[in-house]
C-alpha cells in the first residue's frame, strides 16, 4: 500500500513569529477598532486612530522665548483653523482633517546641503530636545491667538545637514495627496502643493521652530500634523503645515500665496501694523476670546529678536 508522504510545508510558507505576533496584534486591534466603531460614532473612531494626536509628549523643556500672556483655549486652537487643503472655512479642517495620515511620514531634506537625507518623522522628533514655545500667532486676516507650541529650533536641523554657500533660502513643501487632503482636487482657490519659504537667516533665527505638538500633546491633524513650521513674527500662513520637503535653494522661492495674489502677499509677510493689506487694515487685531480689538505689534512683538535681520530694508517694498 502506497502511503504518500504529506508534502512538507515549505519554510517560506511558515509565518515568521514576529509577523505572526504582529498579525495577532492587528487582529486584536481590529477587534478593538470594531468595538470602537460599534460603541462610538465614526468621528470618534477616526479621531482616535488618525494619529497619535492627543498623546502626551514627554521631556518637554520650557523656553525663555515663551510669552506669559493668557493662552487661547485648546478648543479654539483646534477648531478655528486656516488649512485650505481641508476647505477654506475655518471650521472645516477640524471636521475633515481626519483623512490625513501622519504616520508613516518622512521629510526629505535636500538641495544646497552637504548631507541630504530623508528623515522619518520619529527620527526627526528626536533631533533636538523638545521645547514648549508659547507664541502669539497673528493671522493676516486680523485675528490672533496665544498658543503653547512644542517643537525645536529649525536651526538644529539646518546645522545637521550642513548647507553650502549657495543655500540662500529654504523652501518648504506641504504634502500633496488629494486622497488625504480632499480640497487639493480643485485648484480653483490655491495651487497645490502649498509652498512656503524663508531666507536662510530667518530660518536660522532661534524663534523659528519645527513644531510637532501643542498643549503638551502631539499635533492634531487640523493644526498641521505631523510637523509644521512656526514663524511667530510673520503672518500665520508663513507657518507651513504638514511638511514633506525642506529644500535649500539659491533663488527666492515663489510661495503659494505670492502666486495667488502677488500684490497682496509678499515673500516676507512680516507682521507689520504700518503696512496694510491692500484691502484691509493691519493696525489692529482681534485676539480670539476678546471683544475689543487690540493694537497689532511690529513683528508681532518679536522685534527684539528679529528686527535686526531687516535693517535697511524698505518694509513697504518687501512686504
Amino acid at each position: 500500500m502506497l502511503i504518500k508522504k504529506p508534502n512538507d510545508i515549505k519554510a517560506s510558507e511558515i509565518t515568521d513569529k514576529a509577523l505572526f505576533l504582529s498579525r495577532r496584534r492587528f487582529l486584536a486591534g481590529a477587534a478593538v477598532a470594531g468595538a470602537t466603531i460599534a460603541g462610538l460614532t465614526n468621528m470618534d473612531f477616526f479621531e482616535r486612530s488618525a494619529a497619535h494626536a492627543g498623546e502626551k509628549l514627554s521631556g518637554v523643556q520650557k523656553s525663555r522665548f515663551s510669552t506669559t500672556e493668557t493662552l487661547t483655549p485648546l478648543k479654539d486652537v483646534t477648531t478655528y483653523n486656516n488649512f485650505y487643503e481641508f476647505g477654506t472655512d475655518k471650521y472645516s479642517p477640524a471636521q475633515y482633517a481626519k483623512t490625513l495620515m501622519p504616520r508613516p511620514w518622512t521629510v526629505a531634506v535636500e538641495g544646497e546641503i552637504k548631507k541630504p537625507k530623508r528623515y522619518d518623522i520619529d527620527e526627526l522628533m528626536k533631533l533636538a530636545p523638545l521645547e514648549e514655545r508659547v507664541y502669539r500667532l497673528r493671522c493676516v486676516e486680523g485675528w490672533s491667538m496665544v498658543i503653547p507650541w512644542i517643537g525645536f529650533p529649525l536651526n538644529a536641523l539646518i546645522k545637521q545637514v550642513e548647507p553650502t554657500s549657495k543655500a540662500k533660502y529654504v523652501e518648504f513643501t506641504t504634502l500633496l495627496d488629494p486622497k488625504q487632503m480632499p480640497e487639493q482636487k480643485s485648484r480653483m482657490v490655491l495651487d497645490w502643493p502649498y509652498i512656503e519659504g524663508l531666507r536662510i537667516d530667518e530660518a536660522n533665527n532661534p524663534l523659528a521652530i519645527l513644531c510637532v505638538g501643542l498643549y503638551g500633546e502631539v499635533l492634531p491633524n487640523q493644526n498641521g500634523a505631523p510637523i509644521r513650521m512656526i514663524v511667530p513674527w510673520k503672518y500665520g500662513f508663513k507657518s507651513v503645515k504638514s511638511i514633506v520637503k525642506i529644500r535649500f535653494v539659491e533663488q527666492q522661492p515663489t510661495t503659494t500665496w505670492m502666486k495667488a495674489g502677488p500684490t497682496e502677499y509678499g515673500f516676507y509677510s512680516n507682521v507689520n501694523p504700518e503696512v496694510d493689506h491692500p484691502r484691509w487694515s493691519q493696525a489692529r487685531e482681534r485676539r480670539i476670546g476678546e471683544f475689543i480689538k487690540r493694537k497689532t505689534l511690529m513683528f508681532n512683538g518679536y522685534g527684539d529678536q528679529v528686527a535686526s535681520m531687516y535693517q535697511g530694508m524698505d518694509l513697504r517694498k518687501y512686504f
Partner: protein, 206 residues
C-alpha cells in the same frame, strides 16, 4: 384668507436665520470668533433675501401667479432688516463705535465703501415701501426701486472683494443675480420691439 396664512409662514421662515443665530449664540456654538460668524451670517442673509426679492417678478411672469407680488415688500424689508443687523454688528461688535476708524475704513477700503453705499441705497427703498408712498410716488416709485439692482450688485461686489481667495460663494450669488437681471433685460427688450409682433401681409412685401 389663504394668502394671509401663507404670508405669515413666509414671515416666520424669513426670520429663521436670525432665530438660528440667536440659538447658536445662546448655546455657545458660535465658535472661536463669534463676531466674525455674526457678521458673515447677517451678511449672507442680506444677499439671500435681496435675491429672493428679485425672484418675485420672474416667478410672477413665468407662472402667472400674480399674488406673488404681495410678498415682495415683506421680503425686501427682511433684507433691509438683516442689513441693519449687519451694519450694527460692524459699528458695535466689530469696530466698537470707533468713529475715526470707521470713517477711514469707508474711505480707504473699497469693499467697505461698496458695502456702506449699498446699505445707504436701501434706506430710501425701505422708507418708501408703504402703500401710501407707493401711491404718492406713482411712476417714480418704480424708477426709485430699481435701485435694488445696484444694491444687490453692490452686495455681491462687497462680498467678492472681501474674501481672501475663495470666490466660490460670491460667484454663486453673482451668477444668480446675473440671471435674475438678464430675465428682466430680456422682458424689456421684447417689450420694446413691437414691430416683430406686427403682422405684415405678404402682398405688401416687395
Amino acid at each position: 384668507m389663504k394668502l394671509k396664512v401663507l404670508k405669515a409662514v413666509v414671515f416666520v421662515a424669513a426670520l429663521t436665520p436670525l432665530a438660528l443665530l440667536g440659538y447658536y449664540a445662546y448655546t455657545g456654538n458660535l465658535g472661536a470668533n463669534p463676531i466674525e460668524v455674526i457678521t458673515h451670517w447677517t451678511g449672507d442673509s442680506i444677499i439671500i433675501f435681496l435675491l429672493i426679492t428679485l425672484t418675485v417678478t420672474p416667478v410672477r411672469k413665468l407662472t402667472g401667479w400674480n399674488d406673488a407680488i404681495k410678498f415682495r415688500r415683506m421680503l425686501g424689508l427682511v433684507a433691509f432688516f438683516y442689513a441693519c443687523l449687519h451694519f450694527t454688528t460692524y459699528i458695535w461688535l466689530d469696530q466698537f463705535f470707533d468713529l475715526p476708524g470707521m470713517i477711514k475704513d469707508v474711505a480707504k477700503r473699497p469693499f467697505i465703501t461698496v458695502g456702506f453705499a449699498s446699505f445707504l441705497l436701501l434706506i430710501p427703498l425701505a422708507l418708501t415701501s408703504t402703500a401710501a408712498m407707493v401711491q404718492r410716488l406713482g411712476k417714480r416709485w418704480q424708477k426709485l426701486h430699481r435701485l435694488i439692482y445696484i444694491t444687490a450688485a453692490g452686495g455681491v461686489i462687497h462680498y467678492w472683494w472681501l474674501v481672501k481667495k475663495d470666490i466660490r460663494w460670491p460667484l454663486t450669488y453673482g451668477i444668480v443675480l446675473a440671471l435674475l437681471l438678464a430675465f428682466r433685460a430680456a422682458i424689456s427688450f421684447r417689450a420694446r420691439q413691437p414691430s416683430r409682433r406686427v403682422f405684415v401681409p405678404a402682398a405688401e412685401k416687395q
